[in-house]
Symmetry: C2
Subunit: 326 residues, 2 copies
């Protein structure tokens, strides 16, 4: 708490020095104690300048996903008010799922620098190297039926696409149902999991992995990072990962409130706007068959409507859909 | 293991005595060791007669939900091959859900004499007193979409109705979606929970609570027990709870294999056959409205089709439906 108080004073005065005396008074502790807290913050990666007669000044914050950094200036009411940050976990989805089963409130977030068992759809792996990616999961407790779960994935996709556009200026697009592309390359995956009874969702965990500054050598083929796609060189230039996470949480809350207030319709419209698929020729792989067609629309329940070459419309709620280059 | 071996020999010879010598030979241990095992089994509630010069004879098995008793003669390939039995748990669904999250295989079952936090639909309580009920849950790992979860509840309802008819002869009926009635009184509830991603179920936990011998004073209004409904007096007469559990597990496997082999259609037909609702006048309570109508059908996805007085057909996948007496 005292660390955060001192940090907060320094944050509010980054263009001047805060005297030791002033820090003592505001924090209500001795000079020696102030010094100890400053050293602790430096240990966490905060760059704090200390000049005789002038005092202290915050000149740099660490490139770590520290909960208090994400919460700093986070403009949300629910999502991210409770953040747990980790150096390494199996899977942030699993961490949050367990917490949710034990009753943790809506909006709780776990964020990690690395996942050793990052999960993609259908038990696939989501590579989560500790080199500049962000991996986080959030619990939601919407009053919906399990049949409506697709809405939450699509909502999260809209939030992330919006956020990447906001932070980087890149034209992020959505590939149904759960990938975000920049320049046709995958930079983000979303995995939605739920606990539900027959007709009522207990909770949903939305997991989001974004390759922010990740060097391409750590990523699978077809994937890229935000920094690479906006023309930077990973390892030398960096986007603020804190800002990315904070911005996504804010957009997620915006879209979630939109769903609660206006239903799913405005989200579908946004989704279509960001879709990398509508009008594209795709190949659909279902468990028992494959076919090609043109993506015609996204229907009101979040199913992808595909017009086959025979003219028949098919609705797809699962399966793999890849864009076929002409 | 030795207990089970000795028990198995005695079980195969309930109309004669097995000499100590024979037991020693078959089990491969000494007379003194046999005696110790017999005493242990007696401690668990087995009634074993021991006569000089004649030997041992099994004359009674305990009225406890011992895993090895349920497994004895259980005619299933998957469901119940792995049974864990408890004196008391919070909720057998929670026990099995946790095991399933940690990877336990399909068909694992937890059974308990009592639940301190027995669960009904929508967070309601399911009273589970330690007085003659059976409470058990089973994990299934069907390859279905979460939208198909209703099928599993309906399948379980068919299995339980069939089983109660088989064991007691009573005309068990199904009240949509998850109750089993005998003489219009609730004797069993089913709670289906799942973990799923957007388009694939990870696992389903089917929880079943049956008031077998439970005295009515322990049950809520409108509920009854199997023994009471077939004219017995709970506390004095008893149905074999072991037999009830074993039979339900067998019927559950039969219906589950039917689903895998022939799809949902034969299960719907069976469901209709056992339905206490089709043709009945009902009152439907949804989160935002209520209405009355006649139950017209169960559709191919497990939704209840109700004809309102205006003639309009409505499909119901959730909500509370109660039969209105004319």
């Amino acid at each position: 708490m005292l660390d955060e108080k001192i940090l907060s004073i320094l944050r509010n005065n980054t263009d001047s020095y805060v005297s030791g005396e002033e820090l003592c008074k505001t924090a209500g502790i001795s000079r020696a104690a102030i010094w100890k807290h400053i050293e602790k913050l430096r240990g966490e990666g905060y760059d704090i300048e200390a000049l005789p007669h002038l005092g202290y000044r915050l000149v740099g914050i660490p490139d770590s996903l520290i909960a208090s950094e994400i919460k700093w200036k986070l403009k949300t009411k629910v999502i991210g008010k409770n953040i747990m940050s980790y150096k390494k976990v199996d899977s942030t989805n699993d961490v949050v799922y367990d917490l949710a089963e034990n009753g943790i409130g809506e909006g709780a977030v776990a964020v990690s620098e690395e996942q050793t068992k990052g999960k993609g759809r259908h038990g696939r792996q989501w590579l989560s190297p500790p080199h500049g990616g962000v991996y986080f999961s959030c619990v939601l407790r919407p009053e919906i039926a399990p049949t409506e779960i697709a809405k939450i994935t699509l909502l999260a996709a809209v939030a992330v696409a919006r956020s990447i556009r906001d932070v980087t200026g890149a034209s992020a697009m959505i590939k149904w149902p759960n990938d975000i592309l920049v320049n046709d390359k995958k930079v983000c995956g979303i995995l939605t999991e739920m606990k539900a009874e027959q007709d009522a969702v207990d909770f949903v965990v939305v997991g989001i992995g974004i390759n922010v500054n990740t060097p391409l050598k750590y990523l699978p083929k077809g994937a890229s990072s935000l920094i690479a796609e906006i023309g930077g060189r990973a390892g030398e230039e960096k986007l603020s990962r804190i800002e990315v996470v904070r911005n996504v949480l804010e957009k997620l809350e915006e879209e979630y409130l939109k769903l609660k207030k206006h239903g799913f319709k405005p989200i579908i419209e946004d989704w279509k706007h960001f879709s990398a698929m509508i009008g594209s020729r795709v190949k659909v792989t279902l468990p028992n068959r494959t076919f090609e067609g043109l993506v015609h629309n996204l229907d009101s329940s979040g199913e992808l409507v595909i017009r086959r070459d025979t003219g028949v419309l098919e609705k797809i709620s699962s399966g793999d859909v890849v864009i076929v280059k002409n």
